[in-house]
Symmetry: C2
Subunit: 258 residues, 2 copies
């Protein structure tokens, strides 16, 4: 007799976002679910943790079999609190998302959604971040569901390498029907910032961060290419940031001091 897995669900768009509601409904098919998610938007918070203030964690009403808790912190805080304070035991799986907006390419570094999955990988718990390449909270996630189910099934059946989590991105609905799933690498690209500079009523300048994504990578094996081709992209993401291939180069430098 197999025990049902214990699944933690979190996100960065806050506990009320449609994306996490969809993910909770899928997670309930696979195991016993705890939702521990931010009480407000945490987009773009990267791997931030809260050190300069304390955290609140409050149980809230649930619309299903899952237990639900809102947290006054970041997605990484939510994972830490869930594991150490809220859950009855260490979870078997951490699911983050479904994010409203793509976390392909360089977005993985800024993403609160992916920070929760990375935090899971640091804890050596199998973790997946899901994102839909559409910002509006009204965007349908119906077509994504069967692909999300098969990815979760695979992770539960096969596990993930230690220190690796998955960054899953789903194309926008204008790409339907989706062509399938493609395992990819992170595309090389960057946000070209264009600050919107304004003057406040007292004559002082202030700045809104805006920007435009630029792709520097024509590879057919990237997440951006997969999304463009109508495939769900799956990138294995490492918590080891070492550029191993650069170690030999640096070892040739002359580090003598005067």
């Amino acid at each position: 007799m197999t025990k049902r897995p214990l699944i933690l669900v979190t996100n960065d768009d806050s506990i009320i976002a449609p994306g996490i509601r969809t993910l909770v409904s899928i997670a309930n098919e696979f195991g016993d679910v705890y939702v521990v998610a931010p009480d407000g938007p945490q987009s773009g918070k990267g791997h931030a943790i809260t050190l300069d203030q304390s955290l609140r964690c409050t149980e809230v009403a649930s619309d299903g079999p899952q237990k639900e808790f809102k947290v006054s912190g970041t997605p990484a805080d939510c994972v830490k609190l869930a594991i150490n304070v809220v859950l009855p035991r260490r979870p078997d799986l951490i699911l983050s998302g479904i994010n409203h907006g793509s976390n392909a390419s360089v977005n993985v570094i800024y993403s609160g959604t992916m920070s929760a999955a990375v935090e899971g990988a640091l804890e050596r718990i199998h973790s997946i971040g899901f994102s839909l390449d559409e910002f509006p909270w009204t965007a349908s996630m119906e077509a994504a569901k069967p692909f999300i189910r098969t990815i979760i099934s695979n992770v539960l059946a096969n596990g993930l390498p230690s220190g690796v989590c998955l960054n899953v991105n789903v194309p926008a609905n204008d790409q339907l029907p989706y062509k399938g799933i493609r395992v990819c690498r992170q595309a090389i690209g960057n946000w070209v910032e264009e600050f919107d500079s304004r003057i406040d009523p007292y004559g002082r300048p202030y700045y809104w961060l805006t920007g435009k994504y630029e792709l520097y990578d024509q590879g057919a094996d990237t997440d951006i290419a997969a999304l463009k081709d109508g495939y769900i992209s799956v990138v294995p993401v490492s918590v080891d940031l070492t550029a191993h291939e650069s170690i030999a180069t640096l070892n040739q430098w002359n580090f003598e001091t005067e």
Copy 2:
């Protein structure tokens, strides 16, 4: 005739921290310096950027030849604002730190100091994050200076691979005399969280994030081992988070949907 390099200096401990003052004094030896740094502490902010509010950027008095600006955002915000709004041209070098506290091993993921260096690498600008393995702002950084100088000299002379920045950690002063510089990989380890749970005067629980670092890696080639042996650790850090070696594994999975 060689033009003096344009150097951006930032950090996460705020513009008034002794660590950034030391780094500015070293940077002035190498080029024309702009300081664009947070107006308050930003430790543990990971690669957070500010999307939900606007940013202030204010020129402040300088105690040397450098120009100085304080910013109401994260280290990543500082780099973006510096490049796009403050500096007269793209910098030749970005220096972040000197952080008060180690950013070795898994700390690289949480570190605001390193997020500034990573943001530089995303911009294809040579970038280095420096940290001292001591928290007190009173800790001496004198012995670190010659090593910081030779690392900066090497980066200016040799450049860095595209998309790679350096995570430099200096042992605590109780390790003096330092034995030299060692190029390393990021040690595998994690913070074992021990939340400090308290009850507020109104009977409601709240939580302080605390924790203890655990090393899961006995390799002699890690940054943690280097620091323990009295060496300055230099880890090349990648902005490509793909776990490339896991792609073949995932390609063997069965992703059929029902």
